[in-house]
């Protein structure tokens, strides 16, 4: 038990090898399917639609053979944000959002209409669904597969001077640094606590917590810059010159059947947009 174990609650950017079908799938097909699902989540404005999406998300988690408790743990860090978002919406939307909607709660200047209530539930559900979809994607895809996938998908755009390889590299490095930075932040929190720093404050005391972050953030930035520079030197020392003429060690090979998954995702997206959900 530790108040400092940061990585425990970060599921984004981790890879969890369980050998499921999603792990073996062609990364390019998986990227396309994920984007389509993100689209479905973003454009579904109904309660019933979001209920369907939640069920689908849980199905995807099961398909990836990811332990449900582990997937749910990834939601914990987002919880305060979700609560703040909901409170803001409840307090400040009032009648401004859809004035024709019936009032369900009225106290002083606080007015909550049915439409706002619906909005709160839908935005929270969307958030959770997005986290599920993206977590499952990163938990089942190694960074190498991700890079090659992005690069390969962007290749047709090269004639329009889109630097596909470089973009893919940026994404890879960004994702790769998430656990590294989390570990370093954890180390710094412990180090400052060891010399009297009062890291903590309640979970909800945001101002106090932010003020106390400075002794962590300053060294963390220094660390990130130093690591970045080391990475540059290491890449140049190994004669990295960018994407042109580079062959790859890991070759993406997926079966044609893998492309049925994004087709199914597309069909799902269209169905979600077209479905006449009652609420």
């Amino acid at each position: 038990m530790s108040e400092f174990e940061l990585l425990r609650n970060i599921t984004i950017g981790q890879y969890l090898p369980t050998g499921s079908y999603l792990h073996r799938m062609d990364a390019r097909a998986k990227i396309v399917a994920t984007l389509l699902l993100v689209g479905a989540v973003s454009f579904t404005p109904t309660l019933a639609g979001n209920a369907v999406l939640i069920v689908v998300c849980l199905g995807i988690v099961a398909l990836g053979r990811i332990p449900m408790t582990y997937a749910l743990r990834g939601l914990l860090p987002a919880l305060p944000l979700l609560v703040i978002l909901a409170v803001m919406q409840l307090l400040f939307f009032g009648r401004a959002y859809d004035p024709s909607s019936p009032v369900v709660f009225h106290w002083g200047w606080i007015v909550v209409t049915a439409a706002v209530l619906r909005l709160v539930i839908i935005s929270a559900a969307r958030f959770v669904e997005l986290l599920f979809v993206t977590s499952v994607f990163t938990l089942t895809t190694t960074t190498t597969e991700l890079t090659h996938g992005i690069e390969s998908l962007l290749r047709p755009l090269r004639r329009f001077r889109v630097p596909g390889h470089e973009l893919a590299l940026v994404v890879t490095i960004a994702i790769r640094f998430v656990p590294t930075l989390a570990l370093e932040a954890e180390r710094l929190m412990k180090a400052q606590a060891s010399r009297g720093g009062g890291i903590g404050g309640g979970r909800w005391q945001f101002v106090e917590r932010t003020r106390q972050m400075l002794p962590i953030l300053v060294p963390l930035f220094t660390f990130a810059l130093r690591r970045g520079e080391e990475l540059i030197v290491a890449m140049e020392a190994r004669a990295y010159t960018g994407g042109a003429g580079r062959t790859t060690y890991a070759v993406l090979r997926g079966s044609a059947a893998d492309w049925l998954v994004p087709v199914a995702a597309l069909a799902f997206l269209v169905a979600m947009l077209r479905a006449p959900f009652p609420v």
Partner: protein, 301 residues
């Protein structure tokens, strides 16, 4: 300074005071409840008595760094018991901040945790967090900086990044000392320093025990350093205590050390080899000086 011809290791462990830290049957699992879980400590028991220097040895991944995070209450035990100066860490009512003030922990490469532009301000971070009066903060910073060998007047207004590697390490050490702990836990205190700075820092650490009366826990890969500074040793292997006892005893048992993948300090190895060749050298020499004396005594006949 300690009496007696040899540094470290001479004071029998029994003469140290009462136990200030007691660890009993401690287990630790990282990322418990996730697919990445990993057991780092498997039933470790140890104690640290007031006024002594305890060395912790072990190869990378043996659980040293995990263990020392319990000594100042960075982690609360789930399985096993840790009592620091009468505070049971498992008790939810124990205020961990009190524990962290009693036991200062200096992480490996502590200079990476400095964040204030001026050295004096950075050392003052701890006392300021304790909300002490200004004069008290100043007095503590002065004491801590002088104790590590960075004269207060000369260094307090220097830019942190203008310090040399050795000075920075000392300033970071002063930052922990400034909360005036009774026990100081040092993780690889001299790693990455040049030999001059290393010897100097080692001397300062010895002074902390001898002059300031601090109790020390020392984690190190450097056998020579551990041999010079510690009274007692704990050797960890795979998260369990593989050997424990007075420094001379542990280093004297070459077979046992080899079994956990460690070599005794070079002077000890030389003496052991000479004895293996049938020469009657004193068997308990630990440091270069002692080994030299022992060989000289043999030559003198």
């Amino acid at each position: 300074m300690t009496a007696g011809p040899f540094p470290g290791g001479d004071r029998p462990a029994g003469c140290a005071g009462r136990a200030i830290i007691e660890v009993t049957g401690l287990w630790h699992t990282y990322m418990a409840g996730t697919p990445f879980e990993q057991t780092a400590l498997r039933g470790v028991s140890m104690d640290v008595r007031a006024g002594e220097v305890v060395g912790i040895l072990g190869r990378t991944g043996s659980g040293k760094s995990t263990l020392i995070q319990y000594l100042n209450g960075l982690m609360r035990p789930v399985r096993g018991r840790v009592v620091v100066d009468g505070h049971d860490l498992a008790n939810p009512r124990t205020d961990l901040r009190t524990v962290r003030q009693r036991v200062g922990l200096v992480f490996q490469d502590p200079e990476t945790q400095m964040f204030e532009p001026l050295v004096g301000d950075d050392v003052a971070y701890g006392p300021r967090q304790l909300r002490l009066p200004a004069e008290e903060i100043r007095a503590r910073v002065r004491w801590a900086m002088d104790a590590v060998g960075l004269p207060f007047e000369r260094f307090k207004d220097r830019y942190t990044f203008s310090l040399s590697g050795g000075e920075m390490r000392k300033a970071a050490l002063a930052g922990v000392l400034a909360i005036r702990p009774r026990v100081l836990v040092l993780d690889e205190p001299t790693s990455g320093l040049d030999p001059g700075a290393r010897a100097e820092l080692r001397r300062r650490i010895q002074d902390l025990r001898d002059r300031e009366g601090l109790t020390l826990v020392l984690v190190s890969h450097d056998m020579e350093e551990v041999a010079r500074l510690s009274d007692r040793l704990y050797v960890l292997q795979d998260g369990a205590v593989a050997a424990a006892g007075p420094t001379r005893e542990v280093f004297g048992d070459a077979a046992r050390l080899a079994a956990v993948g460690l070599l005794p300090p070079e002077p000890v190895q030389i003496v052991q080899r000479l004895r293996a060749l049938g020469m009657a050298v004193r068997p308990d020499a630990l440091t270069v000086e002692e080994a030299a004396d022992a060989v000289a005594a043999l030559l003198d006949g």
